[in-house]
Subunit: 343 residues, 2 copies
DNA sequence: CTGAAAGCGCTTACAG
DNA sequence: CTGAAAGCGCTTACAG
């Protein structure tokens, strides 16, 4: 790695001032096309790119977005989300700076801000009443969250981008109804995290709309997000006097537990009992029969997040609710909107 | 976000020169303890941290390590690897800069280097004769690779850190032998990527050592890394005149396919036929019975990678081969080294 | 051990 | 449209 060329070198080679070289990059409209061409030639020949540190120092902008990589189990779509986030950032000439933080410890955020190492943060895996949101909001630090935080009371701090879980589950139920199901169970978690409540609301609303039963017996809850707990929950549903013919689970793992319990009883998912999951993780596609699930539009989420961060001003209370996409597989061959309109 | 304090502010408040403030951070041994205390008090009071851009500009070091997030399916351990990488980087006061790149397109790397936005790169998911390694080596750009690239001919470009797949599979086979197995099959992939060959070598060597059969009929290959292909491969093995009683798969997904085929035949993994996977992905722990697999020591890998990058000099041809850890579950209850020594 | 000074490479009003 | 000049905040030989 030999020392890189600087504006000075480019200017000398192109026979212009350093200011002009800078203009080529930062105010191209202000420079004569012929001069532009000369400079660009020199830039190419030298492989010149403005030094980031110098640029950042002057413009007071790191052009970096901080993202704290979750330590725990890590949402299954983290890798695809990260990829999308990078892409979105690069589209507006930013990059993503990764860091770690102890649970509830904001000192890493604080340091990054004090060092001016990042311009803003992207959050994910929001929990109810998320302390990170409060902390950042109080200090007027720029951020955007993938996922709402559901506060015990008061307003949801913005900006956030989220998937409409209620709508997605509503669509799932409607799809199941179109397949002839009249009794649909719901498998949730015990811990009342907002996203779960949201999905449960969707199930209730849709069942009510279709005049299907949606009372307590049809709602079962798992303690942990494991196959074993999903299986136990499914067992309770199947042991009802009048068991449901379809089960909507709040996660793919839970749904897989359901499939397991069905297999144990000699029942086939998608034939005897319909099953759906959520998040369209690898699990959903790798298993047989494939699991119908809800895919989060990660690319659009990432774009919306980044957009809310780079718009020089204003948009500090963006609230974007995107629709999840139903990925229909054999466990519940729901007609997709496209397929439906074709038919 | 009000304007942050600078060395100037700290110096004024502590009643010292700016040089001294800088020394507190960069050459603490050179400053009188009493002065130190004064400065530190001012630093705390102001929440001062040296501006990264200014520091980088001066020291000519971005203190950032670039990592290109893979676009394709993404190794299942990417999220845990990223977390470990961040941790390791932060331990030596670095951060990870994430970016994307089109397949085989090195322009993103080139730009980052030209901008001096990163000091080095970490690579992962090395393929045979990896063009990235060649590209970086030719330009003398600092990097370290998680995973060897297996060149068609010539030396393996260093530095790399990898898990000894041959040894891990060797251990697995030995464990299976200790469980009484005398006929052990191997499920690989068709595409001869180096890591697979490596594991196959381990199987061959171990079988030979234990005087077990290790001829071609016991080796079957999947076209893709899917459950369906794993299942098909298992079928071929089970249909042999003298079928194996244990099957060593080169991935968890393939192993799960084996389990499926067994279930289809009314056989129970771990009871009737032993099954092992590789990588200890979520699949291995979520399934029932749990899948015995090989866990890569991600933390140690990340540490070794980062260490090879920050050592101011020298270590440009680090080659670190770490041992994978066998995670024993019901599909093949292999005694672990610890358990063995306890017994 | 401390201080005054130079300079890293860039951008940006400000004159011409 | 172009050029000379200042300055972003830091670090680092260099004197004292």
């Amino acid at each position: 790695m030999v020392s890189s060329p600087t504006v000075r070198d480019v200017a000398a080679r192109a026979g212009v001032s350093r200011q002009t070289v800078s203009n080529v990059f930062n105010a191209p409209d202000r420079v004569d096309p012929r001069t532009m061409a000369k400079v660009l030639t020199a830039v190419e020949a030298l492989g010149y790119r403005p030094n980031r540190s110098a640029r950042s120092l002057k413009t007071r902008s790191a052009e970096l977005i901080g993202y704290c990589v979750p330590s725990r189990p890590a949402g299954p779509l983290m890798d695809t989300f990260l990829h999308a986030l990078c892409n979105a950032a690069e589209a507006v000439n930013r990059h993503v700076l990764l860091f770690t933080a102890g649970d509830g410890d904001m000192s890493a955020y604080q340091n990054l801000v004090a060092q001016q190492a990042v311009d803003a943060f992207v959050l994910s895996d929001a929990v109810d009443d998320d302390p990170r949101h409060r902390w950042l909001t109080e200090r007027k630090i720029r951020y955007a969250s993938f996922g709402r935080t559901w506060p015990a009371h008061g307003e949801q701090p913005a900006p956030w981008v989220d998937v409409d879980g209620a709508a997605a589950i509503h669509d799932i139920v409607t799809g199941l109804v179109s397949l002839g199901h009249q009794r649909i169970g719901f498998l949730g978690w015990w811990h009342g995290i907002g996203a779960m409540q949201d999905r449960l609301r969707g199930w209730r609303a849709a069942c009510a709309e279709h005049r299907l039963p949606h009372g307590d017996p049809l709602v079962v809850r798992a303690i942990a997000d494991t196959m074993a707990d999903g299986r136990a929950a499914a067992r309770r549903l199947l042991n009802l006097a009048d068991p449901p013919t379809a089960m909507v689970a709040v996660s793919d793992v839970l749904a897989l537990g359901v499939c397991q319990e069905l297999a144990g009883r000699g029942l086939v998912p998608g034939k005897d009992v319909a099953v759906t999951g959520f998040d369209d993780t690898m699990l959903a596609s790798v298993v047989e029969p494939g699991l119908t699930s809800v895919r989060q539009p990660v690319e659009r989420i990432a774009e919306a997040l980044v957009r809310s961060l780079v718009g020089g001003d204003g948009h500090h209370d963006v609230r974007v609710l995107l629709r999840g996409e139903i990925v229909s597989r054999a466990s519940a061959p729901i007609p997709t909107p496209t397929a439906r309109s074709v038919t």
